[in-house]
Each structure stands twice: as structure tokens, then as C-alpha cells.
């Protein structure tokens, strides 16, 4: 039997209180928003400007690989919408593909975004953009993209042979001027496969992932990045389109403070037990 009682509460009850507070502090700002201002970091501005300053006719390849929370909250809608603005204003072409290690959810997310998230006015599927869907193989797919984009698959996500899709006809990997990806796992596979291409790379990833990727960012392999949920919210503010991501930024304030309080409490209790011994 554990003797780790705090205020006569067993460890199981203590854990339950911790869980309950996580739920309450996550939910409270949803009901009563704090409305704290959000400063936009330089990394987000660089990401936004890199897209905004693309020359006319640029071909972008976007590899969708983020986690399910992005699917549910629609946190990537803002930069998908920006892609379509670029298609209209600058004749940019976008190839959507997913080699998401989470499985076909990456492909499902692209379809979801294209169906409901973006404004497709004045753009034509197959001419301005194409959805190659989810392809299994993760790093093998990334390597195939780097080797020869034509070899990656024989048909798009809807079964149309890529030989009959105008934007893919005659396209080589060399023609792709900008690579972008969102990822929820280690960034190393993208860096290994796309880094040697010496093309600009944009990245959107979870906070921990960005911390891991900083060495690549400083080395110049990654040109610009969005730092997790906060980066997304900042991008939405820059772009002017808001989703659940912005709405939940308030909640991160309380949860973050809670985490700090737990760290300090844990250490205070540890010191107190040490002193008592």
C-alpha cells in the first residue's frame, strides 16, 4: 500500500484531481475567454512572407503529415486558403500529397480541406492543383518525390492517371520551386530526402518537433516554420482567418501556468519531505 498521502488523499485521488484540473482549466477559457493579445513571432512572419513573395507560376509541393488534432480543429485551413489565393493571384501550382506516418488520415485531411476548407473560385483541379492522396511508405515516398515526382504514383487520389492531369504533365522534381510539409514525428526523414535538393523548405510541426528541428533551421535546410499550435494561431492572425486553433490559444495560458505550478509544487513537496527526514 502506498504511503504517499497528501492532505490524507491517496495517490489515486491525487491523480484524479490532477486530471480533473486539466479538464477544467482547458475548458474554462472556452466558456470565459481571457482575450490575451498574441504577439507574432519572426518565424511566423517569415513563413507568411515566403509564401506571399513567391514569384508567379511557382510550383509548390505540400506534404500533409500532421496529427489528427489538425484534422479535427482545422488548424491548417489558413495556409491552405492562402495556397488558393496564390493560385488565383500568382498562377501558383500546388501539388498536395501525403506520406503521413499516421496512415491515410493525411490523405483524408487533404480531401477534407479541399472539399470544405478552401475557396476554390477561379481555380481548376488538375490545372492549378492536384491531390495525389496518401501514399504508404513514408520515407520511401519522400525519396521518390526527391528522385522523380512522376514516379511517385500512377494516379491521383481520385483514380485519374497523372499522365492526363495537366499540372503533372512534363513536371519534374527540378520544376518544384518550394517544398512544404507538416509533420507530427521526427523531422529527419524530410531533411534527409529533401535537404540535398537545396530548394526552399517550409515546415509546420508540433512544438517539440520544432525544438528538435532547430539545428536544421539554423543550418538553413528549413527556410521557415510555424511553431505548433501557437505558430498556427499567429498565422491565422496574419492571414485574417480564424479557426478553433485561435480560440484555444487562451486555454493554453491556464494550462501552461498549471504545468508550472505542478513543477514547483512537486519540488516543494520533495524538499519538505527531505527536510522532515
Amino acid at each position: 500500500m502506498s504511503t504517499n498521502k497528501l492532505f490524507h488523499l491517496s495517490p489515486e485521488v491525487q491523480d484524479s484531481i490532477v486530471y480533473l484540473l486539466v479538464m477544467v482549466l482547458s475548458g474554462l477559457p472556452i466558456l470565459y475567454p481571457l482575450g490575451l493579445p498574441l504577439k507574432i513571432n519572426e518565424s511566423t512572419t517569415t513563413f507568411y512572407n515566403t509564401l506571399n513573395e513567391l514569384p508567379d507560376g511557382t510550383v509548390i509541393l505540400w506534404n500533409e503529415g500532421y496529427m489528427v488534432s489538425s484534422y479535427v480543429s482545422g488548424s491548417e485551413i489558413a495556409f491552405y486558403r492562402m495556397f488558393f489565393d496564390l493560385m488565383r493571384d500568382k498562377d501558383v501550382k500546388v501539388i498536395f500529397i501525403s506520406s503521413c506516418v499516421d496512415g491515410p488520415l493525411g490523405g483524408a485531411m487533404i480531401e477534407q480541406m479541399l472539399k470544405y476548407g478552401v475557396d476554390k473560385t477561379d481555380t481548376t483541379y488538375g490545372v492549378d492543383y492536384v491531390n495525389l492522396g496518401w501514399l504508404p511508405g513514408f520515407e520511401a515516398v519522400l525519396a521518390a518525390i526527391a528522385q522523380d515526382i512522376q514516379s511517385v504514383t500512377t494516379a491521383d487520389a481520385y483514380g485519374t492517371p497523372i499522365s492526363s492531369i495537366p499540372v503533372m504533365q512534363g513536371l519534374t522534381t527540378e520544376d518544384i520551386a518550394l517544398f512544404g510539409f507538416s509533420c507530427g514525428v521526427s523531422v529527419d526523414p524530410w531533411m534527409r530526402q529533401w535537404g540535398p535538393l537545396n530548394k526552399p523548405i517550409l515546415m509546420f510541426g508540433g512544438e517539440q518537433l520544432i525544438a528538435q528541428a532547430m539545428s536544421y533551421i539554423q543550418a538553413g535546410t528549413v527556410d521557415a516554420y510555424l511553431n505548433g499550435g501557437r505558430g498556427n494561431a499567429e498565422f491565422e492572425k496574419l492571414y485574417g482567418y480564424y479557426t478553433l486553433q485561435t480560440a484555444t490559444m487562451d486555454a493554453t495560458n491556464l494550462i501552461s501556468v498549471y504545468g508550472i505550478v505542478l513543477i514547483l509544487l512537486s519540488n516543494l513537496m520533495f524538499r519538505k519531505r527531505g527536510v522532515q527526514k
Partner: protein, 202 residues
């Protein structure tokens, strides 16, 4: 024992495509063949996934036939598999509904990492020495940099947090990345020499 039945034959089959792809990468010769080999990797991975699925099915089928503990949940597993798989080909609307309203909340929530992180903070974030204090101080400053409330309390948190991210973090990640890169190459050499044959199940 026949040559093709020996382990060394499989090692040769491992080494040949490896060297061929590297040869193409560094010389640019035989590009289409190397591209095709790379795609083979993705396709063979799919076939091996089918084997994995079969192993999983066999295990659950044995649980059901032998009426082991919690066999009813294996039935649920099979039912959800066949319904989802069937609708994916026969009824796209139902498939999309299950994806949006059943699979997504499960994938979103089944990994209860958020809760375990906070209990870990409560129980395990104790420092015994000054190095531990450094780690916790760095993590607190990072949290205060990322959360807008940190900037609202004191703008300096953002500056310090950014410095921590851009200097010590990069330094260590650089060392780790270089180490991983060298490790990858060292493992590759061992595999070429036949010292590592984990892919053969040994």
C-alpha cells in the same frame, strides 16, 4: 545446404539494392532504375503490412475460439474492422461518417498523453541537483515564452526563452543530429558486412 537457402544469400539481396541506390545517388547513373527500386520499398512495405494484419487477426481469432479472457473485445475488433473496411468500398458516405465521428475522436483521445504529462510533472519533476534545476528552469522559461500569458507578465520571458531555443537547444540538437547521422552510416556499414541481420528476424 543450398546456397539460396543460406542467410548470406539474403544479405546479398540486402546489399545489392542498397549499393545500387547509393551508386545512383552519388554518380547520377541509372536514375530510372534507382527510382523504381525506391518505389519497390514502398510497395513491399504494403505487402508486409498485410502480414502484420494477418498476425494480429490470428491472435484475436485464437482468443475467440479458445474463449480466453475478454474474448468479446476481439469480436468487437473484428466487427469494427469489417464494417469500416466494407464501407470504405461499398458506401463512401458511411465510411466518411465513421472516419469523422468515430475514428477521429478515438485517435484524438486514445493517447492520453496530456494527462500523463501532468501527473508526471506532479510526481516526477523533482530536482536532486543543480543540473535538474537548470532543466526545470529552462522548461518553465520555455512555457512562459510560448504561452501569451508569459509575454503579458514580462516581455523578458520571450527574449530569454527564444535565446534558450536558439542557442543551447540548437547546440545540443546539432550534436545529436551529427551523432545520429554518423550512427546511421555506421549501422549501414555493419549491415553491408553482414554483422547486423535484424531485418531477417535474427
Amino acid at each position: 545446404m543450398s546456397v539460396i537457402k543460406q542467410k548470406e544469400f539474403a544479405v546479398i539481396l540486402f546489399v545489392i539494392p542498397l549499393l545500387f541506390i547509393l551508386f545512383n545517388y552519388y554518380t547520377g547513373i541509372a536514375g530510372p532504375a534507382a527510382t523504381e527500386l525506391i518505389n519497390w520499398g514502398a510497395y513491399l512495405w504494403n505487402f508486409s503490412m498485410i502480414i502484420g494484419t494477418y498476425s494480429m487477426f490470428r491472435k484475436h481469432l485464437m482468443t475467440i475460439t479458445e474463449k480466453k479472457k475478454d474474448w468479446i473485445y476481439s469480436v468487437i475488433m473484428f466487427a469494427s474492422f469489417f464494417i469500416y473496411f466494407g464501407t470504405s468500398y461499398l458506401h463512401q458516405g458511411a465510411f466518411q461518417w465513421i472516419l469523422d465521428y468515430v475514428q477521429n475522436p478515438i485517435m484524438l483521445t486514445i493517447w492520453v498523453g496530456a494527462f500523463t504529462t501532468f501527473t508526471m510533472l506532479f510526481r516526477g519533476a523533482k530536482t536532486r541537483n543543480w543540473l535538474g534545476i537548470l532543466l526545470l528552469a529552462s522548461s518553465i522559461l520555455t512555457v512562459l515564452r510560448m504561452a501569451p500569458i508569459g509575454e503579458a507578465i514580462w516581455p523578458g520571458f520571450s527574449v530569454i526563452g527564444l535565446w534558450l531555443n536558439n542557442v543551447p537547444n540548437i547546440a545540443v540538437m546539432r550534436a545529436i543530429t551529427i551523432g545520429m547521422g554518423i550512427g546511421l552510416l555506421a549501422t549501414m556499414v555493419r549491415e553491408i558486412l553482414g554483422k547486423e541481420t535484424h531485418y531477417l528476424g535474427e
